[in-house]
Symmetry: C2
Subunit: 340 residues, 2 copies
């Protein structure tokens, strides 16, 4: 099969690899229908991590091709959406809804790699969710979004306790931020204020439910947000950038007793304890437990209630993965879908 391999930072190639096969009885083999490039794939691409012939990709939809003898909820031919973290579904942490920190968790990235024609998915029952039937082609981008970027934005909004009567701030207008806007609107937020400097992303944010745009960053952005909120700040803030500046902007933009949800963070971020203390916010984040939300998200997509697939603004065949990475690295694309 063909798979996307990152030989070194900036060096992405599509190469032949052996087809995966069932190893454990809880495995499934899937044929990928679509996959995509994540903002986090740019970290090794730009050299922040050191990739060494790494098998890339962790977002995926596809068709079940083979199941191990212990798989109970899936059949060959099912169309499935999976989470970017393998989860057993049976441990106490999974059952509490924190599947991304399952005691048997495996990050798909590197260990498996779904920028490929096929993939072996361990703990298939705990990781994959079948759609109600075979989806129309038009639904594929949205279902693919559910496997990470939508699930992550949804978790961020949930962690920030977005809901009726709440003013939600979204720091960051990348794909995750935009999905956070969509999620906050679905959750019934009263007002959604997005920090964005890009006209095209502002437009999509407004389409997804943003009511206000702030162009200023850092403490100027905080001051602008306070002006818009009677000096109090947001009830719920989604941190969707992951830098020191954006994390502090998120905390400072939130009123006492409010909540900050964060879904990615660079290695060097340090949160000053005393500032967090006096902010009196709730802070919750982590790798999104996408599996918790998949049944609900799939249904919303299936029923055409939400259309997260619009976040993909460049579609390429898998063979052109290298161009996809370049386009995202150079900010010519927000998010790239790879077809198979």
């Amino acid at each position: 099969m063909r798979a996307v391999i990152m030989h070194a930072p900036g060096d992405v190639r599509v190469e032949e690899r052996e087809d995966p096969r069932i190893i454990d009885p809880t495995d499934a083999i899937i044929r990928l229908t679509a996959t995509c490039i994540c903002g986090s794939d740019l970290w090794p691409y730009r050299g922040a991590d050191q990739p060494d012939h790494q098998h890339m990709g962790h977002e995926y939809v596809g068709v079940v091709d083979e199941v191990g003898s212990a798989v109970e909820t899936l059949e060959v031919g099912d169309f499935v959406v999976g989470s970017f973290v393998i989860s057993c579904g049976t441990c106490e942490i999974c059952r509490a809804g924190h599947q991304s920190r399952c005691v048997n968790a495996v990050f798909v990235d590197g260990a498996i790699g779904t920028q490929a024609e096929r993939a072996r998915i361990p703990f298939a029952d705990g990781t994959l969710v079948a759609t109600p039937g075979q989806p129309d082609a038009a639904l594929i981008p949205s279902l693919l979004a559910a496997s990470d970027v939508l699930g992550t934005g949804w978790f961020a909004a949930d962690a920030a306790q977005a809901g009726p009567g709440r003013i939600v701030a979204v720091v960051g207008d990348g794909a995750v931020g935009l999905m956070g806007v969509l999620a906050a609107q679905q959750m019934g937020a009263e007002r959604i204020i997005v920090v964005s400097r890009h006209a095209d992303r502002q437009a999509l944010a407004r389409e997804y439910g943003a009511t206000d745009i702030i162009e200023e960053r850092g403490d100027e952005g905080v001051a602008r947000l306070k002006e818009l909120t009677d000096g109090l700040g947001a009830h719920s803030t989604i941190e969707a950038v992951g830098s020191q500046e954006s994390m502090m902007q998120a905390i400072r933009s939130t009123r006492p007793g409010g909540s900050v949800g964060f879904v990615g963070v660079s290695h060097d971020v340090q949160i000053p304890g005393d500032e967090l203390f006096f902010s009196a916010v709730h802070l919750h984040g982590g790798p999104a437990p996408v599996r918790r939300y998949l049944p609900e998200l799939i249904q919303l997509i299936w029923d055409r209630v939400i259309d997260p697939g619009k976040v993909f603004d460049l579609i390429l065949p898998l063979a052109d993965a290298a161009e996809g990475y370049r386009a995202m690295d150079e900010r010519r694309a927000t998010k790239v879908l790879l077809t198979l």
Copy 2:
């Protein structure tokens, strides 16, 4: 009147000061019945802050002596318990229950000082709560505890989401930690594991509901706690020390999706963003909104359901305040009550 003044680190004196008087129509003047010395009073005492003839004290119970013309809920002669933060009770933040971050908040410490015979309490309606009647002398220590140390421990347990079915860890066996144990038990925690090395505090912790004691600190303490919790960690962790080590012990002791409540932090604590991210815990803290809990806590004390006053292990007259500070500084006392 007499008042406790800290001239400089280690130099505490009881001196004559002018009686306070009504300034704003929302003020009340109270005659103190009892006050106490807080663990946080040791920060300036030990030179971590630089006191300069500071009027000390922020925990208090007493009798209303005079009210301003706009005070509605209190009458002269009422016995009252107050929070260590003055709160207006009417702003949006107060109404949401985060009175310690009221937009009109004033910290009693320094600005007012309740280690004194009398005190002026601004925003009396928003800050003070009257007891159902004149309390027996035996209830005074517990009512006094409600004004800070109990309210703070209660908030820590609430922020950590202690409750039925939850394993609660308490990092720290000082007065706040012990009150956190009491609170967790009242909230119905299934199991309460306390980090403590002092036999007398362990005994009181067990009396308040502790089920297990861990003597190890730092990462050894984390390992011991994991052994006791099937390798998963606590659902709810109360951080009641405020150091870098204790904060990290608290975060690392908590299972993914669990909650850490913290109620004090020294200036140099830094929380690594990536570790917090992968911990996937909820983190919430701040100056405790004691006022939110006062009506409930007063009733529990009034009904003899809880006896937080046991946390005071040394009782001295106000005139001997300097000895009280020494006893706490030298760890001869956990918490000192000053009588008037």
